[in-house]
Amino acid sequence: MRRLTLLLAFCAILIPGCKKSGPVQYVEEGVSQLSSAVNVSDPKAAVQLLRGFHDIEQNAWRWTAGKFSVALRAPAGASASGAKLFVQFTLPEAILAKIPSTTLTATISGKQLEPQTFDKPGEHRYEREVPASLLQGEVINIDFALDKYLEAGVADQRELGVIVTVIGFQPPQAAPAAPAK
């Protein structure tokens, strides 16, 4: 009986000690806006990662699948002057050990931008000028495709492409100021 009392007393101490204070807020209403460049580790950008992105790792990056798509806002002035699309990513040695190289292609509104082949491990940047004609809407859906990637089950349960950190548009560069006379 003494032991049972001890046990109950223990639980009685435990339970109030664990009470939470005040209701927890799980929802944020506010107004959110589409970005023209997304850091894939930013939770606010998740809605713009349309497909082919695995979960965030190390709070910094995400693996992609062989095909991946994002939605970006066209930067100001892009509908007149175009913009530069860029993808910052890493190609790990583990991938290149299994495939000699991979070619990344971006497609906007059915128009394919010039592909680029990557065959060295490390950080890379894919950059392409996008003509104004492809940047007329407010929301631009961009589809990326790698010609070679690791199928699910080869190195991981997931299909693995590249490790992406940032995808976005750079606004058109302002015209250089006229030299002073």
Partner: protein, 609 residues
């Protein structure tokens, strides 16, 4: 005082080590169990909910069904209530174990060490941090209580102890099927305490055998290949894997940067354990042999599951090894110091890693489910669409459909949300939670639905962003898959449909509907049901036509509840144009009375894939 310390030390270690488990929320199967009450509308439903075999052919009325039914009634979605029950049971386990070993060996400290070694083993981490694994905590409680009674009965001949053993033994079957091994443990204890009475355990064995036979007849293991039994040489390999895992330090999936320290701890612990068993054997200490037999007996039912090796199955078996190690440590504390410290540090590190992982996983589910509840309360009557759902979040918090636990809440994955979720076909298909694009776009544009991103520590209203993306991405009016019980897709139904009833619709003898252009889809599929109460109709035939061409036919036999029809799309179809699908069912079911409806089949979903 000594006894209080002997229990207090492992109890304190348990609380410190598994503290995140006490604070954990629900995840995965927990939601399926929490939803059990939704299937109960009558007493027969209640009995079926308690005793009908479920996933993997399990029947655990006490540790799963009743535990969740009562817990949900008492605590609702407050996981802390459930967790408190789990922890209280474990503290009771530690007390029972400490006392039992003391009664057997006469050493309070042997009891203390046994309980400490057991509770520190990382095999317990899953059970201490995931409510669905309560069976692994409740069963040892009943097992230890039964062994206490047996010990009392063998020593004093007390009839109360005899009946107590039977009570706890029988209750053990309600906690876990592995309870069939209890007669082996009872026999081992009898051989040590009163060897001449060894035959008196025969009735226990008869009950275990009868239960095993009954269980095999009633419960058919599901889960496919993973739960296939392999009664062959592979059981030796499986035993080897479990032996290695029994130190609590080696886990194939957990190799941190400092794993060389874990390897060293594992070697020290394994050598210490082998030395303990050897030493007890040399000294003819029979409890050492009981410990080894305990391990083998408690593990034996899962050895044929070579495709499903999991640390969680070691929860009770490692208690046997803890017994041997505990006795040896109490007898030779100085010799045991180094391996004991290595074991406790290594196993506790692995256990903590598992508990923290489960805690984090449960928090993902908590943010998602409680976020949906709050959003629904802030926007009553609105449909909620979820986007930005991570793979971990989906598999922890959506796949077992927690939203049905929230009255009045209609929540779906937004179209496209499933495309960033890892596929695990053996666990489920995220697509079944997706509201088809045309319905979602329509609902958002008419203000009937709001879109929330679940990425990050809170749900964020991203309706405005999503609307813009969706307008670009999904321009068609028709869904490729139609849930005929979804009002937002009613526009795709042509003639031959009755009103919606609880997520489905009856069709009449003929039902027609429209689907989006098939594009690259290869087959048409239909999921249909018939009422289990209908009589006199016999077998029912369903024929499926696509744009007037017959795609296939299927029979739904009397007594067969559901039909999953799938057939290739006719080769001559124009794949760029919407489809018109016609279903013809014969014979119809005619409802009694004037104006009774003519019913074909109840439909769930139809579509192309």
């Amino acid at each position: 005082m000594k006894r209080a310390a002997a229990w207090g030390i492992p109890a304190a270690a348990c609380l410190i080590l598994y503290w995140p488990g006490l604070m954990a929320w629900f995840a995965q199967d927990d939601f399926a169990w929490l939803g059990l009450r939704l299937s109960i509308h009558s007493w027969p439903d209640f009995w079926s909910a308690l005793f009908a075999p479920k996933a993997q052919g399990t029947i655990r009325p006490l540790s799963e069904r009743l535990f969740f039914l009562a817990g949900e009634r008492l605590f609702g979605l407050e996981a802390f209530g459930f967790r408190t029950v789990v922890f209280t049971t474990q503290l009771l386990n530690l007390w029972l174990l400490t006392r039992l070993v003391e009664r057997w060996t006469g050493s309070v400290w042997a009891g203390m060490w046994t309980a400490l070694f057991w509770t520190a083993n990382s095999a317990l981490a899953q059970a201490m941090s995931w409510t669905s694994a309560y069976n692994q905590i409740l069963w040892p409680c009943l097992l230890l209580a039964a062994l206490h009674c047996r010990t009392g009965w063998l020593r004093d001949g007390s009839p109360r102890a005899r009946w107590g053993e039977w009570l706890f033994f029988l209750l053990g079957f309600g906690a876990l099927e592995l309870n069939v091994i209890y007669p082996a443990l009872a026999l081992a204890v009898t051989l040590v305490l009163a060897p001449r009475r060894w035959l008196e355990g025969a009735p226990l064995l008869a009950v275990s055998a009868a239960y095993a036979a009954l269980h095999r007849t009633l419960a058919t293991p599901g889960g496919g290949r993973v739960y296939e039994l392999h009664i062959d040489g592979s059981m030796i390999t499986t035993l080897g894997r479990y032996l290695r895992m029994a130190t609590g330090i080696w886990r194939q999936e957990f190799r941190p940067e400092w794993s060389q320290w874990l390897d060293a701890a594992e070697i020290a612990a394994a050598m210490g354990l082998a030395a303990a068993l050897g030493l007890l054997a040399l000294r003819r200490e029979k409890w050492g042999a009981v410990g080894a037999l305990w391990f083998l007996a408690a593990l034996s039912p899962v050895l044929p599951l070579r495709e499903h090796i999991t640390d969680y199955y070691l929860t009770v078996p490692v208690m046997g090894l803890a017994l041997a190690a505990g006795i040896a440590t109490a007898r030779h504390p100085l010799l045991a110091l180094a391996p004991a410290c290595a074991y406790l540090a290594g196993s506790a590190a692995v256990a903590r890693e598992t508990v923290e992982y489960n805690y984090e996983r449960s928090q993902l589910a908590r943010t998602l489910v409680l976020g949906v509840r709050q959003a629904a309360a802030a926007h009553p009557g609105k449909i909620l669409l979820l986007t930005g759902v991570s793979s971990d979040q989906y598999w922890a918090g959506v796949n077992d459909n927690p939203f049905r636990l929230l009255p009045g809440v209609e929540a779906f994955l937004a179209p496209g949300a499933e495309e960033n979720i890892e596929k695990h076909p053996e666990l489920g298909d995220p697509a079944r939670f997706v509201l088809p694009a045309p319905a979602a776009v329509r609902a958002v544009s008419t203000g009937k639905a709001l879109v929330y991103s679940t990425a990050g520590p809170r749900l964020r209203n991203v309706t405005a962003i999503w609307k813009g993306i969706a307008a670009e991405r999904w321009k068609g009016d028709l869904a490729a898959v139609v849930d005929v019980g979804q009002p937002l897709l009613a526009g795709q139904l042509l003639e031959g449909w009755h009103a919606i009833e609880e997520g489905f619709r009856w069709m009449s003898e003929h039902g027609r509907l429209r689907l989006a252009a098939p594009g690259a889809a290869r087959e048409i599929f239909v999921r249909a049901f018939r009422s289990p109460e209908e009589t006199g109709r016999g077998d029912v035939e369903m024929r499926v036509f696509v744009n007037g061409l017959e795609a296939g036919r299927a029979m739904l036999a009397a007594g067969q509840g559901s039909l999953d029809f799938a057939a290739p799309l006719p080769a001559s179809l124009d794949r760029s144009a919407p489809l018109e699908v016609e279903l013809r069912v014969s014979p119809p079911l005619v409802e009694p009375g004037d104006g009774g409806r003519r019913l074909g089949l109840a439909l769930g979903t139809a579509g192309v894939r």
